[in-house]
């Protein structure tokens, strides 16, 4: 029974996406409840899958009972199950928030379409993590790019359209490069299954090395484009800034990470670390990551739009993850995985608390925060915790992530990156702290009414409180998460 659970998760999400327009006609409230219950169900089954996978062994599922070289294979290992758990948890939290927020700019006819896209996107993300087949991964990636672009342009305002257009265009170049890489790999091995490909990659390296070089370069560049790794990040700030708050949260916190996870899967499972490093690609990624850490923060400092600033901050945080990955060591990978989860929670908290600010002020400017800490104390406290986590102040998960990255960098003798981490953290502080100062230390005489907490729906406040608490929880007890990550790395 438990081996069917991954498929049931996928089918449930897909069915929900299809059913939303029909149930909506009866009652929209019922749709929201049903979606919430379904997400809880998916979450519970993900927990069961994780426990089973961790204790018993990988779940391997063949569609239509075809052998793995013929058909599509799903392989649920600790890596897939931990990160589906992460995606599911964040998706549920953001879902609860979005049900309270009559999200800015989305008109009510679009509101149900938003959930169609949301569930389709979740379906594809779960699929990517479970799938053990490269072409299948490509198809899921395309589903994600279409739905995530549509979720940006869903607002009936004009600014998202050019941003969404650029996003689709670059995403599509990325997907096609990825597909080109798959073609190269298929040419040498005749397999699309990741395990079977990995077996033939060594013999392929001796006979047709040029194919493998092309495959590595095209796939890395393609996924970097989609994951907004530094020189390919140009689409991200616009796209994430013009989207509704809840969309920005899911895009920045989860979707971008999925592509990095696919890259990690490719490097570790298909090409192998030695082959990847022998081509010098690890150095390339290190440089991209390091440059992203600094440049992302510098760009963020110059922004006047709060959400664009958060977008650039994502670029710099993705740099941290890429550096952790590019160290090609267990320690580096540990820090990358930890940072993926930590940044997911933090960035979701930031975007959602900013969503409350926008809900209240109807403005996205970084100015005008004076006295907001007393008007919306809960939202601004969560914003503060998340900002501290971004800067890397102890007791938050961001500190542990940076600490681990520091240890990994130090053990790989790349001392220059210790400096990069410190500079990037200082730059982070330079653009997050002024907002916090304005919110908590300055008083705005224009806003006489002090507490307007009851204006904000509980469904919006509860999720960000949960996010803020979990940032602190992971920051204080990092071993809770580290144990799971160690298990993932041991079995990867």
């Amino acid at each position: 029974m438990i081996s069917q659970l991954p498929i049931i998760n996928l089918v449930a999400l897909l069915l929900m996406a299809i059913m939303v327009p029909f149930i909506k006609k009866i009652s929209f409230r019922a749709t929201l409840w049903l979606g919430g219950i379904l997400l809880i169900g998916v979450l519970v089954s993900s927990v069961f899958i994780f426990i089973h996978v961790a204790n018993v062994g990988d779940i391997i599922y063949h569609f239509g009972d075809y052998e793995s070289f013929l058909g599509i294979e799903f392989k649920v290992d600790p890596f897939a199950s931990l990160f589906t758990l992460f995606v599911g948890t964040l998706a549920f939290i953001i879902y609860v928030y979005s049900s309270g927020d009559k999200t800015e700019g989305i008109e009510s006819p679009e509101f149900s379409r938003y959930y169609v896209l949301y569930f389709l996107m979740l379906f594809a993300m779960f699929g990517i993590l479970y799938s053990n087949d490269l072409f299948n991964t490509y198809v899921f990636i395309e589903i994600i790019s279409l739905t995530s672009c549509a979720i940006i342009s869903i607002k009936r305002k004009k600014e998202p359209y050019p941003a969404a257009f650029r996003y689709v265009l670059l995403n599509e170049i990325g997907s096609l490069s990825f597909l080109f890489g798959i073609a190269m790999l298929y040419m040498i091995s005749g397999h699309l299954n990741i395990d079977l490909l990995a077996n033939t990659i060594q013999s392929g390296w001796t006979t047709l090395p040029i194919n493998i070089i092309f495959a590595i370069v095209f796939m890395t560049v393609g996924l970097s484009l989609k994951a907004a790794i530094f020189p390919f990040h140009i689409w991200l700030p616009d796209a994430h800034a013009s989207a509704p708050s809840t969309s920005s949260a899911i895009l920045s916190a989860v979707v971008v990470k999925i592509y990095i996870l696919v890259l990690i899967k490719l490097i570790l499972k298909v090409f192998g670390v030695e082959l990847f490093a022998s081509l010098g690609m690890d150095t390339v990624l290190l440089i991209f990551g390091g440059a992203g850490m600094i440049m992302g923060s510098i760009f963020a400092m110059t922004q006047k739009d709060l959400k664009r600033m958060l977008g650039y901050s994502s670029v710099s945080q993705i740099g941290y993850i890429v550096v952790g990955l590019a160290l090609m060591s267990d320690l580096g990978l540990r820090s990358a995985f930890f940072h993926i989860i930590s940044h997911g929670l933090t960035k979701a908290a930031l975007f959602l608390s900013v969503g409350i600010v926008i809900y209240l002020k109807k403005s996205r400017s970084v100015k005008g925060f004076e006295g907001l800490g007393f008007q919306i104390p809960i939202a601004m406290t969560v914003f503060g915790i998340a900002a501290f986590s971004m800067i890397g102040i102890p007791l938050t998960s961001g500190f542990i992530a940076k600490w681990n990255l520091g240890i990994a960098v130090e053990s790989a003798s790349q001392y220059i990156f210790l400096g990069v981490i410190v500079i990037s953290s200082l730059l982070n502080a330079m653009y997050y702290l002024p907002i916090l100062f304005a919110a908590f230390l300055k008083d705005n005489p224009e806003h006489q009414e002090k507490v307007s907490i009851e204006k904000i729906p509980a469904a919006m406040l509860l999720p960000i409180v949960v996010l803020g608490l979990s940032i602190l929880l992971i920051g204080i007890y990092p071993n809770l998460l580290m144990q799971l990550i160690d298990l993932v790395i041991a079995r990867l």
């Binding site: 072409f135 490509y138 198809v139 395309e142 790019s145 279409l146 672009c149 549509a150 342009s153 004009k158 600014e159 359209y161 050019p162 969404a164 257009f165 689709v168 265009l169 599509e172 170049i173 096609l176 597909l179 080109f180 073609a183 298929y186 040419m187 005749g190 699309l192 006047k304």
Partner: protein, 127 residues
């Protein structure tokens, strides 16, 4: 002569790769949004042709079993089947992009990226 022979041998692959690059060039250099979409399609076609060229075997027959065949050489059908999916994806992306262009034209009155950037620059006042 050796190089020429190798080019002739691999003409399918080279053609696919060339289309990919032509498409990429179109996407990057043209400012007209419709031309960018055309570029994406050319890129896609390049990859699809490359994929199908992998499946081809010289002197192979379509993979359909007929009476009286003796040791037939079949063309690998898997790439063609995969590319069928790829084409569907490409069509849906094109449709989505075109619909976005319609929205852009309705709101901004232009489909040229430079003019679009100028209009957006004017609309967002820098303080």
């Amino acid at each position: 002569m050796n190089i020429l022979e190798r080019i002739v041998e691999n003409i399918n692959y080279l053609g696919g790769a060339a289309l990919f690059l032509i498409g990429l060039h179109t996407v990057v250099t043209h400012t007209n949004l419709i031309k960018k979409i055309i570029g994406i399609n050319i890129m896609g076609t390049g990859v699809f042709l490359f994929f199908i060229a992998i499946g081809n075997i010289e002197g192979g027959t379509p993979p359909i079993w007929l009476e009286g065949m003796e040791n037939p050489i079949f063309v690998n059908p898997v790439p063609s089947a995969l590319i069928l999916t790829g084409i569907v994806v490409s069509v849906s992306v094109t449709v989505y992009l075109l619909s976005l262009v319609i929205r852009i034209f309705q709101t901004y009155g232009t489909i040229d990226q430079k003019e679009l950037a100028e209009i957006m620059e004017q609309e967002v006042p820098h303080d």
